[in-house]
């Protein structure tokens, strides 16, 4: 049914939208419309037809009517003199004055707004600087876009993986057989070595050995020396200025020598290189020529001695895809020979579903996209963290902007009157919207200024927390000014947008008459926005709690051995033949429980190869192992499940092996059955080892990796050799400091010219989680900031709501309401909102954190108690925020609030 009244109401609403029509005008036109309809009705039209005909006549040329109306009001000349013709509103000074006046009048709102925005902008910009730095890795190389790192991707039996290490012949072969490749550079990272000059000696770990093409391919700056030749001859070394000073003070080091390593080989200094920029994934303090390293030369035939990192530089305009397509045929051509030489068949590897291939990874992606592949020459970043932090930045900014909108609309009562008066005096909607935008822009400008100060103060802490070396300088980094400016304008326009639309829509008559009461408009929207803010905050809290408990879980989980109070002496190999004596002397110190001599220890590298159990269906099994002595199991607190430990007399056990439960399980032995069984080592002349013991499964690496088959061979065994020797010692719990002193003295007796370097095993494990710990910490801090800003906004809203209801509170108190009643009354609404937010946040956080936990082999299950904790935490924070204000209101004397009338 056609409803005439409704149709007219709609028509009226449509007219209201036009600028320049005043309420009286609309009523006059409406009367006209009704007269016309009446007339048409008496002429036999039905209501619908009559309305359509009449309204089409009236609204036809409505624009004309309106224009005429406007000009008629101003006598047709000089349309609205106060409307500026330039893009700068002529009322700008007035807008600014009003902004500051408002700010001054309601300082609390002003401060909440500005500080919230400032923290938001600062966090955002800080994260932006961080992300920009992460993304800028390796872009300083002139040829960055045609340099690629060669990564391996292989599957051999049960073992598979990706990595960044490549064999010695790869670079040369690739350049010769793949026409797209112009040149290559190989980098080898030797073990830390003692470097000596005169009476100065230090253990240096930041030494890289590389080809002479290094400076042709990469754009590291050579300060002194000839880039073509500095790394050509064996035993050449290039230092950073820092290293030069360390060993030579202010003398010119060029041509001088350093003694390096056990044999005190002399290296000639051929050049000085600028330290690599912080955004380089290759980090070094010294560069030596790769030709110095005999082992690299020795393995020139081997395609499985994956110890080098190889970079290739393509010819200009060559297609990387075309180059990569040619790799597998090159590999297939050269690998079989190597396999044959070490007693395997490459064809068999392929037949068993294995593969062995290399891929090209663009240089600029190495840093962020190598979480799995790794980087031997420096660290790796993680693109995931870039995403996570980026999201956090957007969220924080969003929360701060929402605060601004909420507070602005909540204050619409006072501002509504202003809008009414401005409209009455002829201001158009656009210019009013302009006013609100100018206002929020002024706020965001001030906030940005504060943000700069915050960043300036917080950057050192952030750097320490994130392990970065970010710089903040407006002068040297023009892009920071640009992004700050962009951020300011965005925040200003975004947070001013809603007030600009909402506040300017008021009809002056209604506002001035008082029909719009106490900011009721947009109450729902404010509620929604608050819920949104707290969904974000609570999600972040839950996330932080889960990250925290996972990290704690990893640190405290039983690794299968006792990592506390175990110290490892790094450069045990320098002891040479006196290793055994040193270990004995060490074990005699009364603060030491036991000490062991070993080729490696947990968190350090292992040696993994295939072993064949001597059973009917003897399938090859990859087993990781280390070479150790009879004291290792005691020192680390590993439990033997069956069998025995090595004997003190090492020679007796040269063909013995102790396996872990996982190995036994994989082969199909029960721990007791395994004793006396044989393992054959096909890679080592088919030597036979007898299982003498089975130990419990323990985590050799971090808890991010599951436990695989693991074994201990005796140091006297000839299964393989390693160049590393460490001494691990278990301390008695008390007097660690004194024991350390004694230890250091003992070391100096044995090795007077070598620094005493040690590490505690628990620290090494902690270091494995460092990047996650860092992320957890950063995440926590930004979560705190997010919830802080959200609570500030809430405080503003509560203050406002309380102010609005001062009289009501007064009357209620007079009528007998208790303080508790009133606090309940004022808090109820907000508490409801938080509960809604909590209910929305829980599933979001659950799904998100499940995803994150997938990365860990050993992970916590997400227990409901975490949600309860997060919920109560948020609830508590909100309650404190709310009560802070409401209590004040509830406690105030009603006489005060009621007196004014």
């Amino acid at each position: 049914m056609f409803n005439l009244e409704k149709a007219i109401k709609r028509w009226r609403k449509k007219l209201k939208k036009f600028e320049g029509l005043e309420p009286g005008d609309i009523e006059e036109l409406e009367g006209h419309l009704r007269d016309k309809i009446d007339h048409l009705l008496t002429n036999g039209y039905d209501a619908k037809e009559a309305f359509e005909k009449a309204s089409s006549d009236t609204t036809e040329g409505l624009q004309d009517v309106i224009r005429e109306f406007r000009t008629s009001r101003t006598n047709g000349k000089n349309p609205q003199a106060w409307k500026s013709r330039s893009w700068v509103p002529s009322l700008l000074p007035n807008y600014m004055k009003v902004t500051f006046r408002n700010f001054w009048r309601q300082k609390a709102y002003g401060f909440i707004n500005i500080i919230g925005l400032a923290i938001g902008i600062a966090s955002c910009l800080l994260i932006f600087i961080y992300i920009k730095h992460e993304l800028s890795y390796d872009e300083f190389h002139k040829n960055a876009n045609r340099i690629y790192r060669v990564n391996i991707d292989y599957k051999w039996g049960n073992q598979q993986g990706v990595g960044s290490t490549t064999p010695p012949p790869l670079g040369k072969t690739f350049r010769e057989e793949i026409p797209e490749i112009e040149s290559y550079v190989r980098i080898y990272k030797p073990q830390p070595q003692i470097v000596r000059h005169g009476d100065r000696y230090f253990s240096e770990s930041s030494v890289l050995a590389t080809d002479s093409k290094f400076f042709n391919v990469f754009s590291f700056r050579l300060l002194k020396g000839n880039p073509q030749t500095v790394l050509e001859k064996p035993n050449s070394i290039v230092l950073t200025p820092e290293m030069a000073r360390k060993y030579f003070d202010d003398e010119s080091p060029i041509g001088q020598t350093l003694e390096i390593g056990k044999h005190k080989t002399a290296y000639t200094i051929t050049g000085i290189v600028a330290p690599p920029p912080s955004n380089s994934h290759i980090q070094f303090k010294m560069l030596t020529s790769i030709s110095t390293y005999r082992n690299v030369e020795y393995f020139d035939w081997s395609w499985v001695w994956n110890q080098l990192t190889t970079y290739v530089m393509l010819k200009k305009n060559a297609s990387p895809a075309a180059a990569e397509a040619k790799i597998s045929s090159v590999v297939n051509q050269h690998l079989p020979a190597t396999f044959k030489r070490i007693g395997f068949s490459f064809q068999e590897l392929l037949d068993n579903g294995g593969h062995w291939n290399y891929h090209l990874q663009p240089l600029t992606q190495v840093w962020l996209h190598s979480a799995q592949i790794g980087n031997v020459l420096g660290g790796t970043g993680n693109i995931l963290y870039v995403y996570i932090l980026g999201t956090a930045a957007v969220f924080i900014l969003l929360i701060a902007c929402i605060n601004f909108m909420n507070l602005a609309t909540a204050r619409s009562v006072t501002r509504g009157k202003e809008v009414g008066i401005r409209k009455t005096l002829g201001s158009s909607r656009q210019s009013l919207a302009g006013q609100f935008l100018v206002e929020s822009l002024i706020y965001s400008l001030i906030a940005s200024f504060l943000a700069c100060i915050i960043i300036y103060l917080a950057l050192p802490n952030f750097n320490e927390m994130a392990g970065t070396h970010l710089a903040f300088s407006l002068i040297n980094q023009p892009w920071i000014i640009l992004s700050l400016l962009g951020l300011t304008v965005f925040v200003g326009l975004f947070s001013g947008s809603y007030p600009a639309v909402a506040l300017t829509s008021y009809q002056p008559v209604e506002v001035l008459k008082g029909t719009i009461k106490s900011g009721t408009k947009g109450k729902k929207l404010r509620g929604t926005l608050v819920v949104g803010q707290f969904v974000i905050s609570i999600t972040l809290i839950i996330g932080t709690l889960i990250v925290h408990s996972q990290l704690k879980f990893m640190q405290n989980k039983d690794l299968g051995f006792n990592k506390e109070q175990v110290l490892a002496i790094e450069n045990g190999k320098n002891l040479g033949n006196s290793q055994g004596t040193f270990r004995q002397e060490l074990a005699k110190i009364d603060g030491i429980e036991s000490a062991s001599l070993t080729s490696s220890y947990p968190t350090k590298s292992d040696f993994t190869d295939f072993y064949r159990p001597k059973t009917k269906s003897g399938k090859d099994l990859p087993i990781s192992s280390i070479l150790t002595d009879s004291h290792f199991i005691n020192t680390l607190g590993i439990t033997l499940m069956a069998g025995r430990n090595f004997r003190e007399d090492a020679k007796a056990d040269s063909a013995s092996v102790i396996i872990n439960q996982e190995t036994a399980k994989n082969i199909g032995w029960k721990p007791e059955e395994a004793i006396g069984k044989k393992l054959i080592y096909p890679g080592g002349n088919n030597q036979v080892f007898t299982v003498i013991g089975v130990m419990n499964d323990f985590n050799y690496y971090s808890l991010q990796n599951p436990i695989g088959p693991f074994a201990f061979f005796n140091r006297s065994s000839k299964s393989y050799t390693t160049s590393n020797d460490y001494i691990v010692a278990r301390f008695k719990p008390d007097q660690i400091k004194q024991t350390l002193k004694k230890l250091s003295k003992l070391w100096n007796n044995f090795m007077p010219q070598t620094p005493f370097e040690y590490e505690f095993l628990s620290d090494r494990f902690a270091a494995q989680y460092r990047s996650q710990m860092r992320m957890g910490l950063i995440f926590g801090v930004f979560t705190f900031i997010a919830i802080l800003i959200a609570c500030m906004g809430l405080l503003g809203l509560v203050t406002f709501a309380t102010e609005q209801r001062t009289k009501e509170i007064g009357i209620r108190k007079v009528l007998g309401a208790t303080t508790g009643n009133i606090m309940m009354l004022l808090s109820k609404k907000f508490v409801q909102l938080i509960i809604i937010a909590f209910l929305i946040a829980c599933p979001i956080a659950y799904v998100g954190m499940q995803q994150w936990l997938q990365d860990f082999a050993y992970r916590i299950s997400i227990r409901p108690s975490i949600f309860v904790l997060a919920g109560s935490l948020a609830f508590l924070l909100v309650l404190v925020t709310v009560c802070f204000q409401t209590a004040q209101a509830a406690l105030s004397n009603p006489v005060k609030s009621l007196r004014s009338e």
Binding site: G24, D25, E27, E28, L29, G31, H32, R34, D35, K36, H39, D57, T58, E60, G61, L62, D64, V65, E68, F69, T71, S72, R73, N75, G76
Partner: protein
């Protein structure tokens, strides 16, 4: 059809003339004009109301709201003293136009041409 220019030029004297007969309101004015011209003059709201408002602000006419029995509001316009004066002037001008045209279109007008 009456040309736009003529409509615009004549709207003021016409409104003044109609209002000289007494108070009236927008819809009625349009109706009156249409009836008097046998449907030849059709004014639109878009044309009338702006003129009314302008004349109002020029002080030629005045307005008042009247609430009808059915609760509807209507804005009535009437001449002010200025308006009455203006009507006199308009009348004089239009009559002179009328005289000129009448003699031109009558038999044997005396014209000094060429």
């Amino acid at each position: 059809m009456i040309s736009r220019e003529l409509k615009a030029a004549s709207s003021k004297p016409m409104i003044l003339s109609i209002l000289s007969h007494g108070e009236s309101y927008g819809y009625q004015i349009i109706q009156n004009i249409e009836e008097l011209s046998d449907g030849e003059w059709k004014w639109s709201e878009a044309m009338l109301y702006p003129v009314l408002h302008r004349m109002n602000s020029e002080g030629l006419i005045q307005s008042r709201w009247e609430v009808m029995d059915n609760g509807r509001k209507r804005k009535y316009y009437s001449l002010t003293q200025n308006g009455k004066e203006a009507l006199k002037t308009e009348k004089k001008q239009w009559m002179s136009v009328h005289e000129v045209l009448k003699s031109l279109w009558g038999p044997n007008p005396e014209l000094a041409l060429g």
